[in-house]
Symmetry: C2
Subunit: 407 residues, 2 copies
């Protein structure tokens, strides 16, 4: 198996007691192992082609004596965040117009995964309710990592309580609002209606609210918003996420969590993330103000172009096969690009029309590993397909899908 | 205040609801703020001078297209660990002879802080005991981070249960053995004696078991050993720790924890840590085999030399003042250097002979911020002093200590 294929074969979050995320063996034994196409995990190698073009411009060099200290900026609430990263983040959000950062506190984390847990800690430890763990909910289908991360060490502060649409307890809760949503790409708002005397808090996971995936229709300005480099520029291996937080006490508690959990965040990654964001911003600045960048050199345009093409191909194959359904998305006007386009999610939420278990069907019949709808608190007739995988894997997937005679 | 001073002013683990780790204000108001010397946190800037000398040799360059994937090595239990880091770690341990790595599983983490929590998760979730949280203990004085990290999110898997020397419950426990110990530099073994039917598990925190601090008297070969780049080479900002684990199931569970906690570890930091370790090993290889390195170019020799000098100066001042005591250490033969020397701990465990609260006394009288013995589950007559701080801060501390007329 080629390394690139092996990499694509890993789920983002292997379940407990798994075999290291390697594909399970319940595929047709008559086919060689090397023909498994794994679209389970959320790797973002699709975006590599852009960064290969911009490789030199983004190069960072780190000397031996740099980064010996834990601290970065003692004037910031998040004292381990490098000022250059904070400035680059603010510049990028200002350019794209997808989130308000003025008079907000920014907390950097080891991916938005750690920040999600920091947010649960901050919101639940500041809850005015009883000593019972606070309920954590999200509308199904919800990101498969939320339940496992919430209940990782069986905290007494918070507990996973399932589908937000079915939440009817008269107890405090935290609702996670993911928009565009992972796995189905839908645009979302909170769904738990406020009940008398019940305290509800929101975490907005905006990992995919970038013009690579969806039109930027408004500047998001929620109490607590999560973003991640993995989905913004595709640099998943850097483990850089950030939270934009209104309340200073929540930002301080999130910082405390990250200090006690890992004493901060890699400075090598922070400095590199800052550089990459600056390169993205610079290319737009050059394009807009002196015309010295071409449109093909613009990160979001280039990457959305490839993703759009993949979606068009997938829709074509789905249309012809008659066995599957993928969601449709409205076209909307994007304030960033000044044009209208539809959402091109990072994942396809594929439904098998005539199969009880879509994930199992794909694995057995096509040797395609996708993540079952069950993992997202949803119907097993659905499965999540990674649209940001390698070109080879994506083409092979479409080839196999189009060759199905009847399901 | 100079940045370097501000950096030195940060505690490694600010307490909950602190003012971002800045010094408290209960110092003598007649002295200007800028004269505060903060020796509370465990920053390692002492080691910077070596890395400035070796700066070019250690430089790493990272291109824009690198590290887009979460995964590194699917054949490894710890699939997000880069093979080059694993190889460099093994080479360094083989060179120094301080830990067995053959037929062991290595798990990389965001500092040994995250790995400590991963170890608690792995050991407590595999416990055969009841549903009650497992007791976590360490002999006082113990590292001040252990209690806060153990109880961070009030886990139902484990709970902090204090001083291992006083542990007398007939219940399962995890004992942390830190050797050389933080804060007092003592060499340690487990202290909880096994009782009939009581299951005890050990975590060996060997962060300071390097020839920079102490003679390497044996090759450690415990079930679960923790190390960190912060204390090995001083690169605290990189947030790289590693665990050496005998039992594959424990290593898998630790990996699962890190996946769910942060989906792996910065690849920028991993690749740089590997480079730095290779440079350390290369210089010894050159010195030993072809004489092309000088002894002053050897990391552990050079750094131990500075630390030894600091300890000598401190002992001299303490001897003259008559108000303080610092621990004495036995000389031992070091298998790595083939010479005998004593332990030169990263911290001085300073005792005030005639003061009830050493930390408070130092802060009020000398404007020196140290970490109180109380934080280590010990006597407030002790305080922990960071010996790896900047040269300016260390000299200023000695100056103030030597000017005390009477305490």
């Amino acid at each position: 198996m080629k390394l690139q294929q092996m990499v694509a074969n890993l789920p983002a979050l292997p379940p407990l007691n798994n075999n290291n995320g390697l594909p399970s063996s319940n595929t047709d034994a008559s086919l060689p192992n090397s023909s498994i196409v794994n679209l389970d995990r959320g790797d973002t190698v699709l975006l590599e082609s852009y960064w290969r073009k911009m490789s030199e411009e983004c190069t960072v060099e780190i000397k031996g004596w740099e980064f010996l200290s834990y601290a970065s900026d003692l004037k910031s609430v998040c004292w381990f965040m490098m000022p250059e990263l904070r400035d680059a983040l603010k510049r990028l959000h200002a350019l794209v117009g997808n989130a308000e950062t003025s008079d907000r506190h920014i907390v950097v984390g080891n991916g938005s995964t750690q920040l999600f847990q920091a947010a649960l800690f901050a919101l639940s430890s500041s809850s005015s309710s009883s000593d019972d763990p606070i309920n954590v909910v999200a509308a199904a289908p919800y990101y498969s990592g939320y339940p496992d991360e919430t209940d990782l060490v069986r905290s007494s502060l918070h507990k996973w309580s399932g589908d937000a649409k079915e939440y009817d307890k008269n107890e405090a809760y935290i609702e996670i609002v993911t928009s565009p949503n992972n796995p189905d790409g839908s645009l979302r708002g909170p769904v738990v209606s406020s009940k008398c005397g019940v305290e509800g808090k929101l975490i907005h996971d905006l990992a995919y609210y970038w013009p690579l995936y969806t039109p930027i229709t408004h500047k998001a300005d929620h109490d607590l918003m999560l973003f991640t480099l993995s989905k913004c520029t595709g640099h998943s291996g850097s483990r850089i996420g950030w939270a934009i937080v209104k309340d200073i006490d929540i930002a301080k508690k999130m910082t405390t969590f990250i200090v006690l959990n890992s004493i901060g965040v890699s400075k090598e990654s922070q400095t590199r993330a800052a550089k990459i964001m600056e390169v993205v911003c610079d290319s737009y600045q050059r394009y807009r103000f002196d015309g010295s960048s071409k449109e093909s050199e613009l990160f979001f345009e280039y990457s959305r172009g490839i993703l759009k093409e993949r979606w068009q191909k997938l829709r074509e194959v789905v249309k012809q096969s008659d066995g599957f359904i993928v969601p449709k998305f409205q076209t909307a006007y994007c304030n960033f690009t000044n044009q209208s386009f539809e959402t091109y999610p990072a994942f396809a939420w594929l439904m098998c029309k005539r199969e009880e278990d879509c994930g199992s069907y794909l694995e057995k019949k096509l040797k395609v590993v996708a993540r079952s709808g069950k993992r997202f608190g949803s119907d097993p007739r659905y499965a999540r397909i990674n649209m940001l995988t390698t070109g080879d894997d994506f083409d092979e997937f479409l080839e196999r899908l189009s060759n199905i005679e009847d399901i």
